[in-house]
Symmetry: C2
Subunit: 485 residues, 2 copies
């Protein structure tokens, strides 16, 4: 306990893993590549999930649950889909003591099983739209894994909607991207760039994929959510036609969209520091820890004082913990609760008590305030709100400070340095550049310096004039280039 965690400047990857293990957010599983989410990590996921679920319901979506196992033949019905997911599948071949006639895939995503059912449920335009979401586990067998960010099994939500028209489905895809963007900024304090993915990076089976992209503290990008316009691809693969208002038959239009437990990793990587975890107050399991400071002769009075503070905060609906353990010193407790990421700390000893005040310390800035005891609930509310707001601003300022316009190949290479150099924090970030739209340009850059197009931001597509920053050919898009998780 209270062991030091590796500093970011020494080893960024180890710093990230140290925080997860020492703050008890997650742990390795005996099965390679999967993880155990411990209560302190799950509490963050649970709060995040509930907040997102409210937003889904407010936009008219309903939850359902589809089966874990998908017949292998279903995946093969959509050619790009099976090609994309085949290398990552886990396959059940035996069940109930017998070999199965057809192997079952453990879902890597649920388009196929869901569209097989939509065929039963959709006959007419009157059955549309279907606006369904599910919270579930999925499995994608990964060679190189990292806790939260990339694990063989992860938890996620996947929305799957069915529409009468292309326009409606496109509008849904865009709407959900906006839901994710607002959610990321307001709840996770993650400033994100919303835009369209390139052909090379889109979802296997989609017509268009949109994403939100965030910058981590090592200046690498992290894809934090995706929303796919699937066109009629899955409706055609599963023969889902509906009777139109005019009496004709048409294939149904589709979208899907998802975020996962990877978001917990994004939060850790974006906000934490060398002392440990920092989380947005809205997601923190405990918002405030009260640490009483006493000797034997002052113990009874100080504990009575802090118990009152605790009661006042609880009465105000706060998630508060009072650490009155006598085995550890106040200094040890300060470090321990900082490591765990509790947003506010209240320190109260005999002198504070005599003055009728406490010391209030913010986890993100370290700012200390002397606060009158009776004003504590009000001050806690305002500090939590300020922290939620300022964490977003700080992350945005960091991102903006590490974003550059690049005009040509030389500027691109200079910005990113050689392969791997982006891992030390001296070079790299988000490069904003014009792009011809060519797959070759993109593939070559990836092969050379592991930099890819993260997306083509919605709000940067005006006034495209000039040459591609990679090949000089006439540009069609403005794109964000970065190394990524």
């Amino acid at each position: 306990m209270a062991e030091k965690i590796t500093a970011r400047s020494v080893d960024y990857s180890q710093w990230y893993i140290d925080i997860i293990l020492k703050a008890k957010l997650a742990d390795y599983s005996p099965v390679k590549g999967s993880m155990v989410i411990r209560p302190r990590g799950y509490a963050i996921w649970e709060r995040l999930r509930d907040e997102l679920d409210r937003r889904f319901k407010a936009t008219g979506h309903q939850n359902a649950y589809f089966p874990l196992f998908i017949p292998m033949s279903f995946l093969k019905k959509e050619a790009e889909h099976v090609e994309g997911f085949s290398p990552e599948l886990a396959v059940v071949t035996h069940a109930g003591g017998e070999e199965l006639e057809e192997p079952l895939v453990v879902r890597p995503t649920s388009e196929t099983i869901i569209w097989a059912k939509y065929r039963d449920w959709i006959q007419s335009y009157r059955d549309l739209p279907l606006l369904y979401n599910q919270w579930a586990n999925v499995v994608r067998w990964e060679k190189r894994t990292r806790l939260f960010l990339r694990t063989s099994e992860f938890l996620w939500q996947e929305g799957h909607t069915a529409h009468e028209t292309k326009a409606e489905a496109v509008a849904e895809t865009e709407q959900m991207l906006e839901v994710y963007r607002h959610f990321a900024e307001e709840i996770l304090c993650l400033p994100v760039i919303a835009g369209k993915k390139s052909e090379a990076e889109k979802f296997a089976g989609a017509v268009d994929t949109y994403s939100i992209e965030a910058m981590m503290q090592d200046k690498k990008a992290l894809q934090a959510g995706t929303s796919h316009f699937l066109g009629q691809n899955f409706a055609k693969a599963f023969d889902v036609q509906y009777q139109t208002r005019e009496g004709g038959l048409e294939y149904v239009w589709a979208t899907s969209w998802g975020v996962s437990t990877r978001l917990v990793g994004a939060i850790i990587m974006t906000h934490s520091d060398d002392k440990g975890l920092v989380v947005p107050p809205l997601l923190a399991q405990d918002e405030i820890v009260i640490v009483p400071i006493f000797k034997n002769e002052t113990k009874a009075d100080v504990l009575a004082y802090t118990a009152k503070l605790e009661a006042a905060l609880k009465a105000d609906g706060r998630r508060v913990v009072l650490d009155a353990d006598e085995n550890n010193s106040p200094g040890w407790k300060f470090a321990e609760w900082e490591m765990r990421g509790v947003p506010l700390r209240v320190e109260a000893g005999p002198k504070d008590m005599a003055a009728g005040s406490v010391v209030l310390v913010r986890r993100d800035t370290g700012t200390k305030l002397v606060v009158k005891a009776e004003e504590l609930p009000t001050m806690v509310a305002s500090q939590l709100a300020a922290m939620q707001k300022e964490m977003l601003e700080k992350a945005r300022a960091f991102r903006d400070a590490n974003t550059r316009d690049v005009a040509d190949r030389a500027a691109m290479l200079a910005f990113f340095g050689k392969e791997g150099a982006g891992i030390d924090t001296a070079t790299g970030g988000f490069a904003r550049g014009l792009w011809c739209g060519g797959r070759d340009c993109e593939a070559k850059l990836k092969a050379e310096i592991k930099v890819t197009i993260r997306n083509m931001p919605h709000d940067m597509q005006d006034n495209i004039a000039g040459g591609c920053c990679l090949c000089g050919a006439p540009a069609k898009h403005r794109a964000i280039f970065a190394r990524s998780y």
Copy 2:
């Protein structure tokens, strides 16, 4: 839509399936034995889950998440456990395009993977207790399945706790059984009998299993939840020892407990009728449907009137739906919403509007009340509360009316009739009888007439005096005998 469902008296099993399919609670999956939970069914599960989760947290438990895949070797570490679950396992043999070195079991329950991790997390009495729960999917390959009641994949929660002493673990086992009992009665309107399972019926790997048992409308029993005292069995299998307060080493004491989506089936079977679904108001997706009754000339006025009613109910926090669809008649709508199980119906036409009133109809009893519009929110609140209370009372009265004391073998056979006869509602129910505790008596009865000991109720173990109702030997317990799901 609004098709008739099979009457209970004609075919009870078909009646049950008809309700599920026609009220769109669930549907069959393309993979044999698994199911799709549709939004109207999932909404019940979601409300039930949130209510139970609050009760777990109020008793000090935290949620976590453990991996779906368990190495086959882990299951083999506890001899009874692997013997019990082996016939039901689904096994992943290939992943990521390769054959796995060790096959992975899709969790049928998570004791083994959890205790493998508890070994890492528990060193000293200071680390105890661990009071963890997880909400997850599990797979038990079943030959004969039935929607909600028995499916190869199902959703559930599983609590797994670790304790210093036997007494603490036993107290936890009993506490969670009581949490389930109160929850079943207060939320699901299921009167249940809480007691200990016989050796033959206990969980594979448990020292003692406790259950809550409910009676369905065909008089068969349904096990609605179980709580297991696991002794030190899993701690020994996974070598989980802790340093005691006295400085010694001891194996950790364990419990586990769970309920599943089977509860949705229990609700349907207990409360519904030949018109369709009846659900406890606390679990209903929509609490009230408003059906406006109008002709062309009264349409505008009536719709304005019902919109006001809807707004008043929503302002009161009610889950209300206004069915103003013009394609269907009021009579069709009445039948449709009855089939879907909406607890209260509000009918409002020109005459009601002229009188400033509405007709309020209760789903469970069919009782009609004329209510002044301004009193509607108050009346809705009191009728929903009354319905929640009376549904429990009705189910309890049914169970009690179909429970008999049986003194001997002849009475037992007469009560249950021949095998299968319990399915018509003329015979059977719960038989309360003394039991010697012998496995043979129990096994013989099961083989003869498919009647088993459901449990030995906690509140019926006083004054055990007399002979076993099956063999006449001196009795040790009083037990509930029944056919079961």
